[in-house]
Structures are given as structure tokens and as C-alpha cells.
């Protein structure tokens, strides 16, 4: 029995020992001090950012060495939620209306207090001591992996905010219009402290109904922001006709069929429908059907207005125009055959390792052979997380679905790989 558990102090003499790999942690890498050249000393394997547990694990702490992981557990990112502080990331191209939304969240009474990390101090009209300016410093992790980027300034600011834990209910992170959301999201999975104390709740993208179509053509950032989003506020709808609105929605759907879309004028959406979404919470992956339901967040007056302006609703029902985005697509895979976890998990790891830079988001609900529980998985670039979620319900259809949003993905190859995982 350990003396420190016995409740009584005791002198314990330990033999002087020097470090070896197995003494220290399950990480197979020994303590080592190397003479080096400038730049990371890397093995070829690391440089490829193979998604091995040693090199590119989401959080640097060791895999639990005493409690073996349940079979089929992917363990890299640790997207655990529980009592963590929720973080909402607010993106959107320049001028789409992010600041309007931020000011609304800060000024409206919703009973919650938010710490806000902004990139431009001056734009926020609210004097709030919990508003912090950020510098958008994107740091590469020193592991040779190009897509393992984090926001260094966020790590620093969140470390600072965590010292005042209890003074706020959540954190909002505003990014600049030109920012790629990925480093922001990855920060919550790759930094140990940030990941342990906070949890990414959702990525909310504000899009300009009038200009989004143009931006999708000329600004890769705008496309990333749409592809990455859990919630899209299609804003400034009063500046476009009903046809134009429909058209821009279809363009969004061509890139990201899974995000919730709210049509708004001055970001006039209920704040509570943006916050507390748990979009990165494995336990809350319920269904991954494309969102065909059109959310209309306008109030009653606007409804009447819409119906009163003589617009013909001939788009409803079938006959929708369908767009295909040449560069960014979503892939939806489905099989009714149970999967073999021994095949699927190595395959999805390999896919993330090789195609990670191209994959914005990945989500899946999977049925493994002889497994009474559903297995859920999600990923951001090369960061993957998966876990058993709950028992399959009686009568519930046990099929496996996997969806990916990414750039230039080889649909055929991915589909074949997925289907080959059948048990």
C-alpha cells in the first residue's frame, strides 16, 4: 500500500535512479537531451505526421497506462465536456456582421456572462472587463506537422482567464474575417491545459447573404468558414430577393449540408440557439442527416412580410437547383453492414493522417459488429476523437454513417475504404 494513501506520513527511501523510457510514462519516448541543429530533430515518421499516439496526439498527456482503453477507442483529442467552460468560435468574412452579433450577445439579457476574445478592441461597443484583445498568432506545433497549428495567443489568454474561473459562464472567440477557423478549433484539442478546462462548443459563422456568393469564388477563407461551421447565420437577408436568398443557401448546402442555417437581418437570432450547442460533444452527436429543414428565425412580423410580398413558393418540394462546389465538398457514407472496429479504426486513423490537411470536419455514428453500443467519432483535420456513446435502442436502425467536409477529397477512394471496413 502506498504510504501516502495510508493517511500516515512515512519516510520512504527511493533508490536513486536515472530515467528510462518505461519508467517515466507510457510515452515510448525516453527523456533525452540532444545536441541539435536549429529546427526540430525529427524522425521521418514524425515529419509525415503519421497519426501515431507518440507524435501527433491531440493532447500531450500520456495514454492512461493503468486502465487499458476499451477496445476500439480512439483517444487523441479528448473532446470530453462535463463541467468544462464552453467556448463558441465566431467566424465570418469581413463585413458579414460578426461585431453586430457580438454586441448583441454582450448587451442582451440572457442571464449568462461571457468572456470575449476579440481581434479588434474598438469595434465592441460594450465596456466589459472580460473583453480581451487577441493577436491571432498561429503557431505550428514543433512536431513537423503542417496542420497541427494552434493559436498561441488563445492559449495565453485562456490560461489567464482560467485564473478567474467562476466569473464567467462561457468564452466567445471572435476571429478576423480572414482567419482560418482550424487553428482556433485545434487549440482546444492540442493544448493540454486549455483542453482540460474548456470545451469547444460550436463554430458559428456569420455570412453576408448579398456577398457570400462572390466571396466563395474569390476568398478561400470564406469557404473554410462555411465548411467548418456548425451554425451559419445567413445575415442581411433584407438586402437580397427571395430567389437570391434561396440560391445562396443552396451554395452553402453544396459545401456544408450539415450546419444549421438561420436567416437573419441584423443577426437577429435568439442567442440561446447559438450557445450551448455541444457541437463537438461526442455524447451529443444525435443524427447526421443533412439539414434540409429550413430554420426561419424571423419573428411573426417578418413571416407575414415574407408571405405578403407575392413571392411564389415554387421551390418547395422537389425540383431544387443543385450546386456542386468544385473544390470543397461533403461526402456522406452509409452502410447497413456492421463494421469491424479492427478494420475501421486503423482506416480512419490512416485517412486522417494522410488526408488530414484536407479534412475540415468529420463525424460519424457507427455500428460495430457484436457491439451493443453505438460508436461515435469526430475529427478536425488530424485530430480525431471517438467513443462509445450509448446502447443501440430497440428497433433503432443499426447502420453506420460517416460524413466528411473537405477540400479535394477523393470520394471514390474514401467510399471504397469505408465499405471495406465491413465485418
Amino acid at each position: 500500500m502506498d504510504h501516502r494513501n495510508s493517511g500516515l506520513p512515512e519516510l520512504r527511501i527511493l533508490k536513486l535512479k536515472s530515467a528510462t523510457a518505461d519508467l517515466i510514462v507510457s510515452q515510448r519516448q525516453p527523456f533525452a537531451s540532444l545536441m541539435g541543429r536549429c529546427g526540430p530533430v525529427m524522425t521521418e515518421k514524425e515529419e509525415r505526421c503519421h497519426f501515431s499516439r507518440e507524435t501527433c496526439r491531440g493532447t500531450p498527456y500520456p495514454l492512461n497506462q493503468t486502465r487499458p482503453d476499451p477496445p476500439g477507442r480512439v483517444y487523441f483529442g479528448r473532446f470530453r465536456m462535463s463541467d468544462k467552460i464552453p467556448v463558441t468560435v465566431l467566424t465570418g468574412y469581413l463585413g458579414a456582421g460578426k461585431t453586430t452579433l457580438l454586441n448583441r450577445i454582450l448587451s442582451e439579457p440572457h442571464g449568462k456572462k461571457y468572456a470575449v476574445i476579440v481581434n479588434e478592441f474598438g469595434e465592441i461597443g460594450i465596456d466589459n472587463e472580460l473583453v480581451v484583445g487577441a493577436d491571432e498568432e498561429v503557431f505550428e506545433m514543433n512536431n513537423g506537422c503542417v496542420c497541427c497549428t494552434v493559436r498561441g495567443d488563445l492559449i495565453r489568454i485562456i490560461d489567464g482567464l482560467l485564473k478567474r474561473k467562476g466569473q464567467f459562464d462561457g468564452i466567445l472567440v471572435e476571429t478576423t474575417g480572414l482567419a482560418d477557423p482550424a487553428p482556433v478549433a485545434q487549440t482546444f484539442f492540442m493544448d493540454e491545459n486549455v483542453g482540460a478546462k474548456t470545451a469547444l462548443d460550436a463554430v458559428v459563422t456569420v455570412a453576408d447573404a448579398k456577398w457570400l456568393k462572390d466571396r466563395l469564388k474569390d476568398a478561400p477563407e470564406a469557404k473554410n468558414q462555411i465548411g467548418f461551421a456548425d451554425i451559419i447565420l445567413l445575415n442581411k437577408t433584407d438586402l437580397v430577393s427571395a430567389e437570391e436568398l434561396k440560391d445562396v443557401e443552396l451554395r452553402i448546402r453544396a459545401i456544408n449540408p450539415y450546419a444549421k442555417i438561420y436567416r437573419t437581418r441584423r443577426c437577429d437570432v435568439e442567442i440561446k440557439s447559438l450557445l450551448g450547442q455541444g457541437a463537438f460533444d461526442l455524447q451529443r452527436i444525435l443524427e447526421i442527416e443533412p439539414s434540409f429543414l429550413e430554420k426561419d428565425e424571423h419573428d411573426g412580423h417578418d413571416h407575414h412580410h415574407d408571405h405578403g410580398d407575392g413571392h411564389h413558393h415554387h421551390h418547395h418540394g422537389g425540383g431544387l437547383k443543385h450546386y456542386h462546389d468544385e473544390e470543397m465538398q461533403s461526402i456522406s457514407l452509409k452502410t447497413e453492414k456492421p463494421l469491424d472496429p479492427e478494420k475501421f479504426l486503423p482506416w480512419v486513423n490512416e485517412l486522417s493522417a494522410n488526408e488530414g490537411p484536407k479534412i475540415l470536419r468529420l463525424k460519424g455514428i457507427l455500428s460495430f459488429k457484436d457491439d451493443p453500443q453505438r460508436f461515435v467519432i469526430q475529427g478536425v483535420h488530424m485530430v480525431l476523437d471517438g467513443d462509445h456513446q450509448r446502447e443501440w435502442k430497440e428497433g433503432e436502425k443499426r447502420d453506420s454513417r460517416l460524413v466528411l467536409i473537405g477540400r479535394d477529397l477523393d470520394q471514390k477512394k474514401i467510399e471504397e475504404g469505408f465499405l471495406a471496413c465491413a465485418a
Binding site: 502506498d2 504510504h3 501516502r4 494513501n5 495510508s6 493517511g7 500516515l8 506520513p9 512515512e10 519516510l11 520512504r12 527511501i13 527511493l14 536513486l16 535512479k17 536515472s18 530515467a19 517515466i24 510514462v25 510515452q27 519516448q29 525516453p30 527523456f31 533525452a32 537531451s33 540532444l34 545536441m35 541539435g36 541543429r37 536549429c38 529546427g39 500531450p60 500520456p62 492512461n64 493503468t66 478592441f121 472587463e129 480581451v132 484583445g133 493577436d135 498568432e137 503557431f139 506545433m141 514543433n142 494552434v150 498561441g152 495567443d153 492559449i155 495565453r156 489568454i157 489567464g160 482567464l161 485564473k163 478567474r164 474561473k165 467562476g166 466569473q167 493544448d191 493540454e192 491545459n193
Partner: protein, 330 residues
């Protein structure tokens, strides 16, 4: 099993509530001074005082034995003395002051964003570096400041017009420390590793193998070892020889309980002994000669975030993330 009548250091521990996360501990004269996440400074020990020094959190702090200096997210640096009297030394408005360091002759260095400032006897000067400053440290000799940042560290003589010297190493460098003999500069990194440079020739040292980020480090009284947190044991790298730790293995002392890691270390200022604080709130004293451990504070589930010895080694101050503080007189 353990005999019941063994003298107990846990019984000598004086515990109290700090009110919010203990960010750091220092000493003012005979008493301990704790800095907290809600901007308070607590003086405890011979004297007692509690003052609200900052509106928000204290982000960085230092002590010169007479006063504790705290930098906050309210853009201020405040010095608090043993009576709880406070003096505002710097006020830059609504930018965070992330780092603070004390130098020779009362010099004060701080950083906000990418800019490092030094206020000496004569003047105040500033230097902008490539990214947000991760950490600041004055050299043990001479008026020289090390500034850690993304992709390296910058060495700057604030009193001269000489161009700052940059030591490069890819990655984000956070904490920074000179070896007491001034031969080496060591940084803690965003990755779970330390980096070091031998200043005479810029030779790199990379100290890796940690399961988590190193947040606390300090040299032993004999200046031969650098003790660090970040692993299940306290890790001590050898710095006595000309090559420092290069090519050598560290010593490892006092493993924490199951899955618990060392979160804070403090080397005794006079003897070959160190205090180690763990992620479960446990604090141990470790004798370096033989690795003997003594329990100082029982685990209570909250990580040790502050650990410091008084200059004479007669008092150990500790604090946790949950806001518990404690003193041990030896």
C-alpha cells in the same frame, strides 16, 4: 505498515483559504505573500494582510524580499509591502501585462503583447519582438534581459544601443530562465519539452520526454541541477559540467500517486532538498542525496499551482488551483 508515532510534517502545516486560485507565492521579509486569480495579495505568517491589488487576475508576479510585485490583466503593476500598502508602478490601460521580472538595482521588466519594457534607474525602454512575449528573465550578472517568444528567445542589453541577439529554435517558447552561473539559457516550450542554449557558442539543448507541459522549474541550491515539473516525477537535469545536460539523462525523484504529475517545484535555497507539488494537491519534500520523501500536504484533488521557499529556507509556502494556501515552517 506505518508506525503511528512517527513525527508528522502534515501536522505542522498551517492551512488557510486564499479565496481564489493561488497564482504564485513570494516572500516579503519574514512573511509569505500569495497572489491570486482574483487580483488579491495575501500576506501571511508573521504579518497578515489582504489587499485587492488588481481588478482581474494576477498574471505574473515576483518578489524582492521587501515587496511583492504583481502584474494583472487590468494593465497594471502593483507593489505590495508587508503592511499591505500598495503602490501602482505601471498602468497601461486595458492591455494585459503577461509577464514581469525583477532585475538588479530595482530594475523592473514587464511585457504586454509583443513588447517588452524595462524600467531601470535612468530610463524606461522598450523592445518589440516577433510575437507575444512568453516570458522574461534577467541575467544573473550584468543588466541583460532574456525575452522568450515564438521561434526563440531574444537577449537584450536595455542600457546599450547594441542590437539584441536572437537565439532561434522553432516553436513557441514560454517560460525562460538563466542558469545561476549565467552560462545557459533555458526555456519551457508549448510542447512538453525544454529548450536550452549554451550562451558562449549558441549550442542547442533539447530536453524532452515529458508527458505534459513544463510550468515550473528552478535550480538547486548548489546550482548543479535544474528541477522541473511536467512528469510524474520531479525531473532534474544536470547542469554542472561544461556541456550541461547535453547527451545526459535526468534524475527522477518522488513519483506522484497513480496518474498524478508534478505541477510545481521549488528548490530549497540552502540545502540539497526540493519541494514538489502534484496535480492532486500533494506536496512532498525530497532529499536529493538519497531521494528520501516526506509528506507535507495530503492530496485533496486540486493541483498545486504555487510553491516557494523563503530565502533562509525556514518557511515553505504553497497554494492550489482551488484557492487553498498553506505554510510549513521548518
Amino acid at each position: 505498515m506505518v508506525s503511528v508515532d512517527r513525527p508528522s510534517l502534515t501536522e505542522k502545516l498551517v492551512s488557510f483559504e486564499a479565496g481564489s486560485q493561488v497564482v504564485a507565492a513570494h516572500f516579503v521579509r519574514e512573511s509569505a505573500a500569495f497572489a491570486t486569480g482574483e487580483g488579491e495579495v495575501l500576506i501571511a505568517g508573521e504579518s497578515e494582510a489582504r489587499v485587492k491589488a488588481h481588478k482581474g487576475a494576477i498574471l505574473s508576479s515576483a518578489g524582492d524580499g521587501e515587496r511583492i510585485f504583481t502584474a494583472g490583466d487590468d494593465g497594471r503593476i502593483v507593489a505590495v509591502d508587508i503592511e499591505g500598502e500598495q503602490e501602482t508602478l505601471v498602468d497601461i490601460g486595458n492591455k494585459w501585462i503577461d509577464n514581469l521580472a525583477l532585475g538588479p538595482d530595482g530594475a523592473l521588466a514587464w511585457s504586454a503583447g509583443k513588447t517588452a519594457f524595462v524600467r531601470g534607474k535612468k530610463a524606461e525602454r522598450s523592445l518589440e519582438v516577433v510575437s507575444t512575449v512568453g516570458g522574461l528573465a534577467f541575467a544573473p550578472k550584468g543588466f541583460r534581459l532574456a525575452i522568450a517568444h515564438y521561434n526563440g528567445a531574444t537577449l537584450w542589453f536595455p542600457n546599450t544601443d547594441a542590437a539584441p541577439e536572437t537565439l532561434e529554435w522553432k516553436g513557441s517558447h514560454l517560460g525562460v530562465m538563466f542558469s545561476p552561473d549565467g552560462r545557459f539559457l533555458v526555456t519551457t516550450m508549448q510542447e512538453p519539452a525544454l529548450h536550452g542554449w549554451r550562451l558562449s557558442d549558441g549550442q542547442h539543448m533539447r530536453m524532452s520526454g515529458y508527458p505534459s507541459r513544463v510550468r515550473s522549474m528552478g535550480f538547486t541550491a548548489d546550482e548543479k541541477w535544474l528541477a522541473t515539473s511536467g512528469a510524474q516525477e520531479a525531473i532534474l537535469w544536470p547542469f554542472a559540467t561544461r556541456d550541461g545536460p547535453m547527451g545526459k539523462q535526468p534524475l527522477m525523484f518522488a513519483p506522484g500517486l497513480k496518474d498524478q504529475k508534478v505541477t510545481a517545484v521549488a528548490c530549497h535555497p540552502k540545502q540539497a532538498m526540493l519541494a514538489a507539488g502534484y496535480s492532486d494537491g500533494m506536496v512532498l519534500l525530497v532529499r536529493l542525496a538519497d531521494g528520501a520523501e516526506v509528506l507535507v500536504r495530503r492530496p485533496d484533488g486540486s493541483p498545486v499551482t504555487a510553491l516557494a521557499w523563503r530565502g533562509d529556507g525556514g518557511l515553505l509556502a504553497m497554494g492550489t488551483e482551488e484557492g487553498k494556501a498553506a505554510l510549513l515552517a521548518l
